[in-house]
């Protein structure tokens, strides 16, 4: 009787009415466990605030490398290994983009706090978040072994990638495609002790690179770092070296900084070059061209980018299958057919996403073009004259190596202790 498999057995309709028990059987209920209490998320926010405060104290007040590394170790353990890297401020920018674009998304307060706190801190004290509160930054800080110096022009060029990555991440998050920063986070799999082989290889490669090139992710890729650069550039009390009279011009700070954030002195005359009409026109023309080309490229790339969205990929696949242009089916197209969802709904969904990309991708292109134009402008403009070595707060990751090594400041600290 069992030999025929289920087919015969369920042919009569196959669905069975719930039984009526006579023996006083009590049916178990279905009460799956609730999510962790909300205050735990606030605990994370409190930890973030606390770590930021500790960082401000150790970096700004004490210039203490040991204190900074201590906070970094804490972050790696708390935000990294304990919280498995989620949610982090870097990823939170995608939640903000999603909340901006999608009215139905429940935007948690705590995620908003993760996004805002480090930026607010940067407006006053520079990138203290990067110093070692960010688990990604902290991990790279801890593996840095023998930093090599990167030529300034290369440094400036590589920094631009972060702008492009920011544009892409916002576009993909706002369209609900994927949180690409999380997807390609090279370190999170160390925190989770689990991940795909390819991401493990990528993560190991970045870590190995980070042993000799200080914080490659932070300097050249981190999309949140772009926002931090802007805020830190406006910082009220950024990390500072000293005024002209005191500096002994030893260049030690310049050599110590592994992140290319020390500005060398610029003689007065060199800085005096004016900005003639010809140059102004050139900058304007290049800027306009960059913006137009960026927008055009974005517009051209939009259909390709839209394919990253599962709905668009599925709709295209189903259309191709229906037209007999491809052989076979995919798991996705089979799932779609099995569920028997209305095809025109899929199509209209896909078209809506496609329209979002057709609007957003050119915008992203213009944004990247503007960044390139800005970089070009800056490369032409002669920097203001500077008598001594100083810190560029936008790119300073507040590691305090320079302050720690500077002989003048060291003497000052010793004198302060003596008093």
């Amino acid at each position: 009787m069992l030999g025929n498999g289920w087919g015969f057995w369920v042919s009569a309709g196959g669905r069975f009415p719930p039984p009526e028990f006579t023996g006083g059987y009590r049916m178990p209920g279905l009460n799956p466990a609730p999510p962790p209490a909300a205050w735990l998320a606030w605990l994370d926010v409190a930890m973030l605030a606390l770590a930021l405060a500790a960082m401000i104290f150790f970096a700004h007040r004490k210039s203490s490398r040991r204190g900074i590394l201590g906070v970094a170790v804490f972050s790696v353990f708390y935000f990294g290994f304990y919280r498995h890297g989620c949610v982090c401020s870097v990823g939170a920018l995608q939640n903000v983009a999603l909340a901006a674009a999608n009215a139905n998304y429940d935007f948690p307060w705590t995620v908003a706090a993760f996004f805002v706190l480090p930026l607010a801190a940067a407006l006053f004290w520079g990138r203290v978040f990067c110093a070692g509160v960010c688990p990604l930054g902290a991990l790279q800080e801890l593996v840095l072994w023998r930093p090599v110096k990167i030529p300034a022009w290369l440094e400036r060029g590589l920094r631009l990638f972060a702008w492009a990555y920011l544009g892409l991440a916002v576009l993909l998050a706002a369209t609900g495609t994927v949180f690409v920063i999380c997807r390609y986070d090279p370190f999170v799999l160390f925190f989770r002790l689990h991940g795909s082989f390819s991401m493990l290889m990528a993560g190991l490669a970045v870590l190995a690179l980070a042993a000799v090139v200080g914080r490659p992710y932070c300097r050249f890729l981190c999309p949140y770092g772009v926002l931090l650069r802007i805020c830190a550039g406006l910082a009220r009390w950024p990390l500072r070296l000293m005024d002209e009279e005191e500096c002994a011009m030893t260049r030690i700070c310049y050599q110590e900084c592994p992140y290319g954030a020390i500005l060398r002195p610029v003689p007065e005359k060199e800085g005096g070059l004016g900005f003639g009409h010809g140059r102004l026109a050139l900058v304007f023309a290049v800027g306009l061209a960059a913006v137009l080309v960026g927008g055009w490229l974005g517009w051209r790339a939009a259909p390709e980018l839209a394919r990253w969205h599962a709905t668009v990929a599925l709709a295209e696949r189903v259309a191709l299958e229906n037209a007999g242009k491809v052989k076979g089916t995919t798991l996705e197209s089979r799932a779609f057919r099995q569920l028997g969802l209305p095809a025109d709904e899929l199509l209209s969904d896909a078209l809506r996403v496609r329209r979002q990309f057709q609007f957003g991708a050119p915008l992203m292109g213009v944004f990247v073009g503007m960044c390139l134009a800005g970089a070009f402008w800056r490369s032409l403009r002669s920097p203001p004259a500077r008598a001594v070595f100083s810190i560029d707060p936008s790119f300073c990751l507040v590691c305090a190596r320079c302050l720690d090594a500077c002989p003048v400041l060291k003497k000052r600290r010793i004198a302060a202790i003596g008093e």
């Binding site: 289920w6 196959g14 178990p28 999510p35 998304y105 935007f107 009220r236």
Partner: protein
Amino acid sequence: MSGDKDRRGFLKSLGRLAGLAAVAGLGAWARPKMSDFQSRWQLDPRKCVQCGRCATACVLKPSAVKCVHAHAICGYCDLCTGFFVSQPNSRNTGAENQQCPTGAIKRAFVEDPYFEYSVDPEKCIACARCVKGCTSFGNGSLFLQVMHDRCQNCNQCAIARVCPAQAFSRISSKNPYRLKGAA
């Protein structure tokens, strides 16, 4: 020189004010969207096609997804298509006769001819084999759910990215399950 510095300091202060205003503006704009609840990942069991990726794609091992059982819609069948493989040698509970690779489903006699089935979440790996059997031929009372006591709430769920049925979405922690057979 010092005038230049003053001017730049002033511009910077303006910029900082603008930055603070931007932050405040962002808050004011996002205020109505903001929620006391977290967003949590959950899968819609009505969309799930039992592909088996929940078992393999989750960042946790074993997966944060588990099979749950809505007894309210279960038929309590003797010959459970979620419990037994499609051509069992005999109707006994030997491992070779069970769908579940880990023996996570417990079968208990209730009264003639009914049997109660329950899932041990400690053993379940979310392979969805039982779900497939139950959904294809039975009442669909066995189904998968993201278990929120286990789920890390990754900002981008690794399963959601590869779910062929797009069954995953972010929902409010106010009501973080999508149960079948609930009143």
